[in-house]
Symmetry: none
Subunit: 175 residues, 4 copies
Amino acid sequence: MSSKPLRADARRNRARILDAAGEVFAERGAAASTEEVAARAGVAIGTVFRHFPTKQDLLGAILKDLLADLTSAGDADLFAFFTRVVTAAAEKKVVVELLAQEGVTVGVEGPVAALGDTLGGLLATAKEVGTVRAEVRLDEVLALLTATAQGALRGGWSADLRDRVLALVFAGLAP
Amino acid sequence: MSSKPLRADARRNRARILDAAGEVFAERGAAASTEEVAARAGVAIGTVFRHFPTKQDLLGAILKDLLADLTSAGDADLFAFFTRVVTAAAEKKVVVELLAQEGVTVGVEGPVAALGDTLGGLLATAKEVGTVRAEVRLDEVLALLTATAQGALRGGWSADLRDRVLALVFAGLAP
Amino acid sequence: MSSKPLRADARRNRARILDAAGEVFAERGAAASTEEVAARAGVAIGTVFRHFPTKQDLLGAILKDLLADLTSAGDADLFAFFTRVVTAAAEKKVVVELLAQEGVTVGVEGPVAALGDTLGGLLATAKEVGTVRAEVRLDEVLALLTATAQGALRGGWSADLRDRVLALVFAGLAP
Amino acid sequence: MSSKPLRADARRNRARILDAAGEVFAERGAAASTEEVAARAGVAIGTVFRHFPTKQDLLGAILKDLLADLTSAGDADLFAFFTRVVTAAAEKKVVVELLAQEGVTVGVEGPVAALGDTLGGLLATAKEVGTVRAEVRLDEVLALLTATAQGALRGGWSADLRDRVLALVFAGLAP
DNA sequence: AATGAATGAGGATTCATTCAT
DNA sequence: GATGAATGAATCCTCATTCAT
């Protein structure tokens, strides 16, 4: 599953590039140039392409990372999870740009599925506990999550507005 | 505020370009080339730039048009209006791409404000009639509308999914 | 068959580019950069790509041109034709590089076939007149022609050497 | 003239690289990447450059090898030798690409001269025996050989066509 | 000696925009 | 006003070569 372990410096560079790319794309959107990512990471352009043979691969890797982050945090509560994802999205421009996009599906199927699984588990629990209506389905919640995340990101919502919108959404899910 | 009246053929071309651009950008996103818009409109590239000195201007004009369309249709019901906007968004890729974007703010302040006004009026009525809770504020509804529209567009929701998501949203607004 | 006639300046540029490309590729081989072609032609790089959307297209066009030149000159004699082709090849590095190459088959089928036709006609005549043995086949002559042309080009033969080699070749064809 | 004796593994690697390079360049032409040669040889890219400081050097070494092969085989007959060279060329794409090229003259003067010597000897014998006309000169034969080899390679001649072309060439040399 | 990561110049191609016709 | 050719900066990507490990 994993190829041979990278040399220390290579691993360091990979991380730097990923960080830089996260920032750059968060600021300028996915249209930002790979050159700028390289500059921000403090490496030559060739190094970026050695680690991520294609711009798509780079974007995919970022998305994968973020999704993994979101999924692995282990919230016990659907609402808390929902809130966290939306908040994170607001900080990562790309994520949302990419989440539903055609182009970038390279190697993110797993992480995306994981997100769905996490959400599914939390939704089931929420129904049992009675904080969410029984007839609410997973795809609806996922769609609502994606939509809200996108809205928060692209709309530049204030923290206050975001909380109020989330309150409305949660009210819609409640019995 | 308005420039000199256009020649008949110029006015015709302007309309054609706007139509073509609407289609092209709806299909390919805002990254589609101006050249393709010109081709679809059946005019030369120079003509496009004569009418819209910048690609941004063209995008702005489309957005303005669409917003005007949405605003002027005169729905009597907040929910109907909400539904219509979301449905329209799903068909116009750009609209949503642009609605919250920094770049394209050229000349759309008016139309955006108009949309807010329309929504405000419908919201007030809904509160009076009692279909929406009294404490719900306009900016929340607008944010929710934008988010749902974006979700519908970029997520490629089916009509069925869209309806179910809207039901959840409306439930959140209801008393 | 032919698209709309080009504007005067466009036609002039197309010719310039073709000339420049002929020179550049003749000197440096097909690996020479399109940028250099543009520079030599005195146009911007974009202009080259407007006329020839791909480097391959440019190479193909050169080949086509040269083949057309060779074919249309109307030699009455197989040996004269053979000599002329070989001599021309020595001056056009690319031609030979391309003549048998896989990549560049875009739109040259016609011209190549024409060359074969011309050669076929001259061969038939030569057999009738008795300057070439009856059992010699067209594909052999074509192969010999290509080979000699390539040799002359890449080997950098002197005019004297070329003539002596041609004499040997012609001796091989004679009864 | 010769550097210090190589370590056993170094000598082994040199051979492997040369083999791999022969294959790769034969398949893809001289434009193939050094990286691929390294991969095929099962060594790291650095190792290739340690043995052959420049791509040109690598190409030169291959050529040298092949020429040595051809020269040392010891044919007793000019025609047999000629045939063997042409046949070999058809299998080694680079050889012919390189034989007359400017770039690659590093250290091949010797081998090329050796080829000339071999050919010269066979030609002299052939004249004595009377299978080749007395006035045929060495440079002509060498030129013809190179040309035919190139033709065979780049033209992708079938074995049958190759034989027929060789027959024509030999006829041209015969009294 | 070998490894393989990093470098960075170079090259093909695209596209918003300008301007001569 | 319309046309469409020309411009050239910007972008993605490749690959020979260097150098730290």
